[in-house]
Symmetry: C2
Subunit: 220 residues, 2 copies
DNA sequence: AATAATTTTTAGATTAACCTAAAAATTATT
DNA sequence: AATAATTTTTAGGTTAATCTAAAAATTATT
């Protein structure tokens, strides 16, 4: 049984939606995530169910089977390892790698990804701070908190971003925010919930609530 | 106008056939090279002609246009650069990389291949000794000769192999033949045209005519 | 509970890339 | 030149992946 690129992409989308909300994943959420018509999703769900990669009940939504989960996890592993390669080895910026990784993740061949992992030194996080499951599909969890939830005086190390879109990442570059830096919350403006923060113990900048919500730190 | 993976593969096949024989490339040669039915080739030729990537005259065969030639050249460049990456960086053997490169060559994105080329140090030849066209599509030519055509006493440096199949490459590994080694022809047996050669000034082995025909050296 | 709104599925098409079998064109042989 | 053999194209189908529009099922509201 062979699995297509389209099928892989659906499995990944289902995995990511299920990650957030723990109910069954509905047709429309998938359609939204994949930018396809709901009818196309129904079509694909039938095929995936046929291949035992999801459990599908008409009108009730879907759930990944163990096989489906394993495939989705591997795909995410591949995507994130390629992103590390593109940034660490080829020198791409963190806002430039997603679309390339979307293609590279579908290249088939187990030895390839194992050797790539080895070449990169078994990285546990990708350039956006997202965890990379290991060859056995195990995840690394971290206790992260949004900058928007810090109390004045509290600080943390930036370990992730929630929004991966180019304009956001380039904005962060511009104000000197990168993974690994220290962010201290100085003050919060009640009116719009914007926050003043100190970056790396030096620069002070104001971040909108939206920006602060997309920055994830480990406190301390 | 977007180009599909299948289209790219046809262009490459046409390029490679045209490389050997200088007449127009016929439907059946393409069908043989691609392992598809002749009718499928005709189908594709119409599409490629529609896109101005080939000049196609019914029953008369095809020729690449300038656009088609450029795309085929780029595809070969990508294929061979990825092969260098897989061998040099990931440690694959030279007989293991072709199928992976067949997939990787279709990953879209100009900056990717330029950065990869740079990362690899602008290699001019792939792991099988085949030339890698540069970013402008220029080829490096070398004056190579088959070991089967050497005179007794003559020697050369192995710079290429004509057959890329795994069994052949593994056989070469086994007898200690690799790119860059010196091969000296000691004697030829008239009966079956097999040759005795000295490898790296040390080992002596007998090569069948078929093997000797697939080894390319630069004399001297 | 009946009706309205929303979500999901079905029905029917389309496109790329393949296929087999039959027809047409070209090339080789008598 | 006529016939036979070969090559190529056309005709007609299939499958995966998409779409729009209509029908059916579920959920929300009166
Ligand atoms: Mn990504
Ligand atoms: Mn990422
Ligand atoms: Mn190859
Ligand atoms: Mn090669």
């Amino acid at each position: 049984m062979t699995i297509t690129t389209a099928e892989e992409n659906y499995l990944k989308a289902i995995f990511k939606i299920a990650e957030k909300e723990d109910k069954a994943v509905l047709t429309n959420s998938i359609a939204a995530a994949m930018n396809t018509a709901a009818a196309s999703v129904t079509d694909m769900l039938k095929r995936l169910a046929e291949k035992q990669l999801i459990k599908y009940e008409k009108y009730r939504g879907v759930e990944l089977t163990e096989d489906g989960n394993r495939l989705a996890t591997t795909l995410i592993r591949k995507h994130r390892l390629w992103e590390v390669f593109l940034v660490e080895k080829l020198g791409f910026a963190w806002d430039e790698v997603h679309d390339l990784a979307e293609q590279l993740e579908h290249v088939q061949g187990e030895p390839l990804i194992d050797r790539l992992d080895n070449f990169l030194g078994h990285p546990r996080f990708d350039p956006h701070g997202d965890p990379i499951p290991d060859a056995q599909g195990r995840w690394t969890f971290r206790q992260q908190v949004r900058v928007s939830l810090l109390q004045p005086g509290e600080k943390g190390i930036l370990t992730g971003v929630d929004d991966h879109a180019t304009p956001f990442l380039q904005y962060l570059d511009q104000i000197g925010v990168a993974l690994g830096i220290e962010i201290q919350l100085l003050d919060r403006t009640e009116y719009d919930q914007s926050v003043q923060v100190r970056i790396s113990g030096k620069t002070e900048v104001t971040l909108s609530e939206k920006v602060a919500q997309n920055l994830l730190v480990i406190k301390g």
